[in-house]
Symmetry: C2
Subunit: 639 residues, 2 copies
């Protein structure tokens, strides 16, 4: 077959990111404008030129103590055995801290070391040395001294130094103006009604906030329709009013991806396509001397592209170095595959378990905003690298503070809605501690505990033989490891079906009969194991279930699927059905327990977790959800 | 002697800082108020409660590609050898990325993989698998999913997730209001006239900016005079309108330090004096249920006290952990002495030289704002520790980003005003590189190169025998080390005297005859060595010079001293005299050269430095200062 035959598109370039970046940086030659701002309001602003002191601090010889100013020579006779009397006015004057020292005096004696004889006379028993307890002119700041070079980001204490030096207005770099143009027929403003095919425009707002955080001034324009003339006009307008133009999206090579053609018509295109995953469909060009950056529509691609190609321009304008993220070494919990020829940017969860950092990749989908929100770190795989093996040590850039990662409880295993509640209760007690959970299913949670990749796993694994939950699995799969199984919840599993149960689902047999579109869970999920058992009991084969192979990763995902489709059905917990206003037909009462390493269970964090679970307020909050009860007076099982 | 006899004061407590902190933290029981803010404007705000998704993202099954939507079952026959035709409307519809998939279809085929036969018909040669290229409902976000727990600081990408989830307003913690009351008769607002004894009120502005940076809302009040009733009223007013009250200063134990008595009268004092240097005179109390923090007047003490006692309260209110600074291990370039019984907070310069971090203490004076501004790190010496030896490795908290420290050129030795200019020129060429200089004098600079504590030292050391500059010193003191002496400047040294030279100073003899108050430089400074030589030539003794023992640390300090005193005189460089509008009587033309390690001289940074020095623009800027010329066509001397 000739693959080209079906290809109506131009292909994107695969230009190395660094090369593309260097090109626009050298094309970006706009000199920063300066502005004077009042010093008190200059926090975080960047000095546009060296700043010099207008006055010295102190600008006079100042007393450093409460006491008396004297001429040191007058005091040389003073001795413990031979107290010396000094006369006010002639031989001393009283001074407080900060007072000016009269020119005839050159030392200060602390108030604690003088004795008042009468209103006019004091007694001292020790001589003063010249200049003692005097802050000389310019002790802190000398007039004409350079306080800051250009390119300095002003911190609170810096403002104090400026004011002390009489600099009440400071020359700072004007914030570069970055126009942001959202384009797309499918976009609606965030408060407009929702309909299938409509997408809320939120990238523009996010871009504006990134730009603000990096020190630029965003100018977010109206949404522009996918119309070549309108896009052209918007680009021209933006180059008139701003220093850098960002256009989103239409940066790919689709039939409605006009952006690249418009930039070509109006100016120059340097790059169309960089060798990265995600983030490939980027356009870098120039119109009327202004750099234009076309960023992809998918949020993760867009935010990364913005960081690669807009942040360096802002930093260049402000004359500041690009901030770099802290890096740490982590051990990989899973193998990561990467293709040659493009850099991969993998969002990672990082847990600190048993004294080491363990990292696992989150979804790579460019459309999943939450993968960036949830990520603790970013693994950048070079274009020449084919990936990494499980257990390998790699370097990741941190997206969250190291302390936050170190203080997080890594929760693995089955998804339950009470875990979020548990996390909230815990955080309001212990601000520093939070629960970071990944929903991988009971079996994977159990394995995470075995591999030392998690502190706690939520599991609800029904043993088909014993009809008991969890215990036999722990015995079999964690033999020899010191773990604790903590009885946590009794919860109801049942059929999640459309309101009014139009298909009349009451058991697995009904699913097959009604050709219901079943929303299954991923392999290793406790709910899937339960479903398989129900099929087995009914004598049904997976092939007889429509959708058996379609895997959802949480109860809420199952409920969302049913919500969108009258013919769908799923198995899950009551609160998921309730949250989406669906019907729920109970099937089983199951035990959802917490599996922990013994060392975590006995740790400070482990104690905090257990005491939250045992608290009245938490148990009451769980009760209010419905379909649940927390096991009271739980007795931990040690293995 | 009975020391108590002279003591009219109450002594401050020496309460451990951590104990004092724990007390006010447990007394601070104000629950945070919540407010709803538009999501687009919530950058940096802290969620006040868990935030859940209002809608799923996508909220419909969406096409992930441009192409056609099909029913996968209709495509199973397609094969490269047996292309399959599909009819528009019945068997497929065109979809663009983001479009909704009609309910009768369950897969998307990319536009690149279809061939249009005619207007109504397309041809495919490969079957589709169910759900391929479809973003299912909730792929990114599932309705009712918890997006953020409480206490989460919102970042740009988080705002995207909120908007995608239909959360257009977000519940955040109201910013706690922190009243700031500056007190003191000596204080004037920053734009008021200057007079001896008047101090510009700048602490309040700095406090307000710290509070803002930490997430609070500052309320800076007018300056309050040292009057018990006025202070009392200000405290009462502040407790009415704010969550935390900061009062500055009057926190010590002097005769006008009313604050502690006022707090005692109106409420409770928990602490008066913490065991820290600086920062000891702190007051912690409570009035009308509001925590009151009395901070010392000296800037460095004040800022540290604010960080110890106000930041934790703000963090507690917002339910966020206190941010911690990155720590690194450094080698001490000097011995540091610390008394028992109090923690010492030493501001440190840190240089990265020859692959190791070398740290040296800055001044410990609590009144020197610039010591905080200049500090790269903070060394906290526990109360039980007597200090550290030179060469010891200690841990310091970083006050500047690690990258910035790593990229800094450590400049030691003699002070010259062109070094600031050099730093500016360098920074505008290479944003990441800057010069960090400490003015320790030529001899100390030479020693810093010897000990591997600096990259470059500016030296102007006159050999009394040879009358040559620098070379003999380098030969003698750096024998066997690979260093480079780079000829940099010819500059004029001379007498710096009051305008009109009222004392008629033209040589060292005049100083003695006129009983001029001489402003000398510190030991090891090239200018002091020159002065000693001049004395020697004139046959004078140091004792004959008034002020010989008073040491200034820079040319500008000498000039500032002369500026403030008609009877003073000093020896220094022309631009220092010019900057302060003083007279200058030339004495000598001297060579101010740059001494570098050979490895630095040959490094990328070294090259950059030399190429700035050799540039026309830099040499022209130096020429404009006056009294200088850059050595043209300089030939580096290797040793």
């Amino acid at each position: 077959m000739d693959g080209k035959r079906y290809n109506r598109k131009i292909y994107l370039e695969d230009k190395p990111r660094q090369e593309a970046q260097a090109e626009i940086l050298s094309a970006f030659t706009i000199s920063p404008e300066r502005e004077m701002v009042p010093t008190g309001g200059a926090l975080g602003r960047i000095t546009a030129q060296p700043v010099f002191a207008n006055v010295s601090m102190p600008h006079y010889h100042a007393s450093a103590m409460d006491g008396i100013a004297v001429n040191a020579e007058d005091t040389y006779e003073a001795h413990e055995q031979r107290p010396l009397h000094l006369k006010q006015g002639q031989q001393f004057v009283y001074v407080d801290t900060g007072n000016s020292i009269p020119p005839e005096f050159n030392a200060v004696i602390m108030i604690e070391h003088i004795h008042e004889v009468d209103n006019e006379t004091i007694e001292i028993i020790e001589p003063a040395t010249p200049w003692q307890h005097i802050r000389p002119i310019g002790e802190d700041i000398v007039q004409e001294e350079m306080l800051f070079p250009q390119g300095h980001a002003l911190r609170p204490a810096d403002l104090g130094a400026l004011l002390a030096a009489g600099v009440t207005e400071v020359p700072v770099a004007k914030k570069p103006v970055i126009s942001i143009i959202p384009t797309g027929n499918e976009l609606v403003v965030s408060d407009a009604g929702r309909a299938p095919g409509r997408i809320i425009e939120f990238n523009g707002t996010v871009f504006a906030n990134y730009v603000r955080e990096w020190g630029g001034e965003p100018a977010l324009s109206q949404i522009v329709k996918d119309d070549p003339d309108k896009i052209k006009q918007a680009l021209l307008d933006a180059t008139e009013t701003s220093d850098i133009v960002v256009i989103n999206a239409g940066s790919s090579a689709g039939s409605k991806d006009y952006t690249v053609h418009m930039i070509e018509e109006l100016g120059t295109v340097f790059t169309h396509g960089v060798a990265t995953r995600p983030g490939k469909p980027v356009i870098l060009g120039q119109i009327n001397g202004k750099i234009v950056v076309g960023v992809p529509g998918y949020p993760v691609s867009a935010y990364l592209a913005l960081e690669w190609f807009v942040r360096p321009l802002i930093c260049k304008y402000l004359q500041i170095p690009e901030p770099r993220r802290q890096k740490i070494e982590v051990k990989l919990g899973r193998r990561i595959v990467s293709g040659m020829g493009a850099e991969d940017f993998i969002r990672m969860n990082i847990g600190y378990v048993n004294g080491q950092f363990i990292a696992n990749p989150l979804t790579r989908a460019a459309g999943v905003t939450m993968s960036l929100v949830r990520a603790d770190g970013l693994l950048v795989i070079p274009a020449s690298q084919l990936g990494y093996e499980q257990g390998e040590t790699v370097e990741v850039e941190l997206l969250k503070p190291l302390e936050e990662i170190k203080n997080s409880i890594v929760f693995s295993g089955s998804h339950d809605l009470t875990i979020d509640l548990l996390s909230s209760h815990l955080k309001s007690r212990e601000t520093e501690t939070k629960i970071v959970s990944s929903h991988v299913g009971s079996m994977a949670g159990l394995l995470a505990i075995r591999k030392g990749e998690a502190h706690v796993a939520g599991i609800h694994l029904l043993d088909p033989q014993t009809k008991e939950y969890n215990v036999s699995y722990v015995k079999k799969m964690l033999a020899g490891q010191k773990v604790v199984l903590y009885p946590f919840l009794k919860r109801k599993q049942g059929w999640i079906v459309a309101k009014g149960n139009p298909l009349g689902i009451h058991n697995a047999g009904d699913l097959a009969r009604q050709h219901a579109e079943y929303a299954n869970r991923q392999k290793g999920a406790g709910t899937r194991i339960l479903f398989d058992l129900l099929l087995d009991e009914t004598g049904l084969d997976p092939e007889q279930i429509n959708g058996y192979d379609r895997e959802m990763f949480s109860h809420l995902s199952v409920a969302a699927e049913v919500k969108g489709n009258e013919k769908a059905a799923g198995l899950g917990i009551f609160p998921a059905a309730k949250a989406m206003n669906l019907d729920f037909i109970p099937v089983a009462d199951e035990s959802y327990d917490l599996l922990m390493t013994a060392s975590f269970f006995e740790s400070r964090q482990g104690n905090a977790l257990i005491s939250v679970i045992a608290s009245e307020t938490f148990q009451a909050d769980v009760g209010r959800i419905g379909g649940y009860s927390v096991v009271r007076g739980a007795v931990p099982l040690y293995f």
